[in-house]
Subunit: 550 residues, 2 copies
């Protein structure tokens, strides 16, 4: 017998989960709340709503219709926030372009996504000049600029953003449509191959926002978000919707501060002058802020910061806590909208020593509502939640990209077995805290068990002679794979220490720590240098390939 | 050009919003958290999940299949919580029976909803005896009892709840299905006609839960909910899902306390002994608790209580605040799942005098996320949000009943014009606080404007001679309707005051307050008594009919 579906009387309104519905509560309860840009422009939510209407009217006048793609290249601004809402609310698709990619990669993503219109900050005109004649789908360029005399455009401009809004009517009638309509797209770049496009629907963004609010709002105290917080992003809006926080902040009616380009000094001034209380950033940016001379003069007390993007070093957590910053980790990725877990501490955890707190704050946290997160072995069976056993993190939530744009094979691999594969390895402890220990491509599979290359590197780095180390897996007839440490010695130790001595040093530590027992199969080999990628990251793939071909 | 729908790769999991998905986060983060019943039974969320599985297996063994209806007659219990999840998670429909209705009304609702199975507490066997032979669809009766020797059953029992669970397997495989599947149904009773059935889908209940968490979690401080709260319902679980809080508490992994039958002394003991921090109730129950002798011995500090169901008297708010209770108002109705608005104060409001705070706490509050709430005139045009102009409250949210069960005409009237009509009259102030001033059937429509009968009654009640008063609208050839006050005098004043004097007294106050200027068209008539309903509520409908027929 099938389930019984609810019946709607003909006049009933069947409410679709559309991005426009995030505005209802804040316009009803906080219409005069402020949104500001670099401390230079300030306006109310009422004005935000009006400008969203003008933006849609202006884009419609350029011929933008539902289903078309509007790409944006800008720093974090009130304009970008308007695009976060106005473009999808028309039924069009917002492409958030990663302006830190190379010109060739940006060209690829704009053509691949078939962008119809490009809103571009004049700062990026030199870049645009390199690719303009190879853009195959862009029909109109709209100038964005904070300067009265922007760079000369390398293309014919359709209009300028503020002029477009001024000339357009605020009362655009945003229609209802299918909540599964595509709202956004952007590209994720791995170490290999072309950038891959992920995409999210209105329904997905609304549900991500609600779950994020439910989780951060109901945190017992540490890191909790409430409606009197002042929000400023320090993860770019082109980077996974600034982790979804502009949607969240707008739904809750928070005071919002948009900082423009991320310059440490201006970020610090805004934190101080605008009394920012809630942000998110990657560890390198936090490091940059904490070590800036101006930081010494700033009272960070009460500033809550979610750290993500890569593992937060515990020393950073300690340094930030000492300055009064309430920082903790969140976890997710481009494919996951992004947030999956958050590491808010319980009240009792705040009695722990700073060092013990830092361990928890640097974990990747616990699942938000609706998140079905598992750690599984190669057969997709769950591994124990004992804080030791590791497995791949696989997830189901209502807000995961349902594929990669025009890349069906990669999409199927992402979703193999009906769970999204994060390609991250981690363990979960008895309290439900997830800790990411490695990327799956860097983990070593020995006799069916996984050994974290990062954990082995941590051990080897403790030896006084080791300057740099990378651990990779090499094929082994008996074990399948065994770990090999490629070690660059400090100049002073060259010829004064043996590979065998370093191996024994590591093996001893491995036996006394929680690392997989197969870690002791470790081999050590001295090398002159490690392979690196163009951006300076260790390139394990190249090293593995070099070894295999030997 | 139509919107572009997101494409899912074949292996992608398209996540339906099902009630089972509310369990993911709490089982991952709080598996050992406690759920207790009357301080007598305590178990963990892990056990809850296991018992939900056993319940489904047991019901399946009775032949319950997707689409069938399982009715429950019980006081607030862990068993009821299990039914909140287990029954809908099977794809079946949970009918929460209002055990305070008359036997005839209960008979009507069970037959009308076509209940297949009835889980019934032995306390209600005397009631069941009156209707058992007229139940047309119930195939099986399952005994619920806290007694070792329950009343003798007036029907053949299929099994007993705990025996059914003990005999059943915990690993029921809860399937995925359409999120628009009906999850619950129950009946709302007006003063006239048969009870009307409302119904809610899995999607609706999940979205109601997320919005409630988003709103209560992000409250600045007053009345906020967090994951270390201890929840106990004091609005029955048969009454609009206990306002949705058992779903919310379970999603957040709160410690939960179920009190059984509402006896003031046992409720007070549980609040004290279980250290309850979050509840909800109607004003009459709060009054009962505050005035009970045991209340004097209890420290209520830190107990947050949402008041709803009817208007909270400001004196009650003051009395409760004096005892350290943090109480405030929520608003909704059976048709709305129920919550629409919540009156959490801002931090600055806490500096107001208790009297001024009480005014705010007694308002019906501000919309939760996704709630599109309007106050409109008879032409469905918005009235001003100035705290004065009144209109009917109409709403759109994703969690409104899409009709009345097998009552198409009433369903169309409810949804006239594509908004759900609450039949409540209210105003909204500049801060977005809604205040309900009247029921639409009791409001007086004069020259196209609305005058609140409740507001006029408040004014008249201030006269020293007035014992009771009811204001109704009477037909008037010039004004359409004009207000008539039916006044019962205090015995001492009989013959010592004139209708005219009372009218002038009221007219003077009307002119100096914010009541509609048409209030001065008031007429006053002395009567010996007011018409009342069988439960003692003033029956304005009867009084209006009596006047018209005169």
């Amino acid at each position: 017998m099938p389930v019984k579906l609810i019946q709607a009387t003909p006049s009933a309104y069947t409410y679709p989960l559309l991005i426009k519905s995030l505005l209802h509560a804040s316009l009803a309860t906080a219409p005069d709340q402020e949104i500001s840009y670099q401390g230079r422009i300030r306006y109310s939510y009422r004005t935000l709503r009006e400008r969203i209407g003008r933006l849609a009217s202006g884009l419609a006048a350029l011929g933008v219709d539902a289903g078309q793609t509007v790409a944006v290249m800008d720093w974090d601004s009130h304009r970008y926030l308007e695009c976060f809402f106005g473009v999808p609310m028309m039924g069009a698709i917002l492409q958030t372009v990663n302006v830190r990619l190379s010109a060739e990669q940006i060209l690829y993503t704009l053509n691949h996504a078939q962008a119809d219109v490009l809103l571009i900050n004049s700062e990026f005109f030199p870049l645009l000049a390199q690719i303009a004649d190879r853009l195959t789908t862009v029909r109109h360029f709209v100038l964005i600029s904070d300067e009265s005399h922007p760079h000369e455009a390398p293309v014919a401009l359709a209009t300028e953003y503020e002029a477009m809004l001024a000339a357009a009517a605020p009362d655009y009638d945003f229609p209802d449509f299918d909540e599964n309509a595509q709202a956004t797209t952007f590209y994720t770049t791995g170490t290999t191959g072309d950038p891959k496009g992920v995409y999210f629907s209105h329904r997905q963004l609304v549900l991500h926002t609600l779950s994020l609010a439910s989780s951060l709002g109901t945190a017992p105290g540490q890191g909790r978000m409430h409606r009197e917080d002042v929000y400023m992003p320090i993860t770019p809006m082109f980077h996974v919707h600034a982790w979804g926080f502009p949607y969240l902040a707008t739904m809750l009616g928070l005071r919002q501060v948009y900082p423009g380009k991320y310059l440490p000094e201006s970020l610090l001034r805004l934190i101080r002058d605008e009394k920012v209380t809630y942000s998110h950033c990657v560890p390198t940016i936090m490091h940059m802020l904490l070590t800036h001379p101006l930081a010494a003069e700033i009272d960070f007390k009460g500033w809550k910061v979610i750290i993500g993007g890569s593992v937060m070093p515990q020393v950073q957590a300690l340094a930030a806590m000492k300055r009064g910053i309430d920082l903790f980790t969140g976890y997710g990725m481009s494919e996951t909208c992004p947030v999956l877990t958050l590491a808010n501490l319980n009240t009792a955890d705040l009695d722990l020593s700073p060092e013990d707190q830092a361990v928890l704050r640097a974990k990747t946290g616990r699942p938000m509502p609706l998140v079905d997160l598992r750690i599984v072995d190669a057969e997709m069976d769950d591994v124990a939640h004992d804080g030791i056993a590791t497995g791949e993190v696989v997830v189901r939530t209502p807000w995961l990209t349902q594929g990669y744009l025009k890349a069906p094979e990669a999409a199927e691999a992402l979703w193999e077995g009906g769970y999204l594969h994060t390609a991250d390895i981690g363990h979960i402890d008895a309290r439900g805290f997830l800790k990411i220990t490695d990327r799956i491509k860097d983990v070593i599979k020995t006799a069916g068990e996984w050994t974290s290359s990062l954990a082995l590197e941590d051990v080897l780095a403790k030896h006084e002679a080791v300057h740099e180390v990378a651990v990779i897996g090499i094929p082994d007839p008996k074990w399948g794979e065994r770990p090999l440490a490629l070690v660059v010695l400090k100049p002073d130790f060259d010829g004064k220490v043996t590979e065998h001595a370093i191996r024994n040093f590591a093996a001893h530590l491995i036996e006394t720590t929680g690392i997989s027992r197969h870690g002791v199969l470790l081999q050590v080999q001295f090398v002159k240098a490690l392979s690196k990628t163009s951006v300076g990251k260790v390139n394990k793939r190249a090293m593995r390939e070099a070894r295999v071909s030997v």
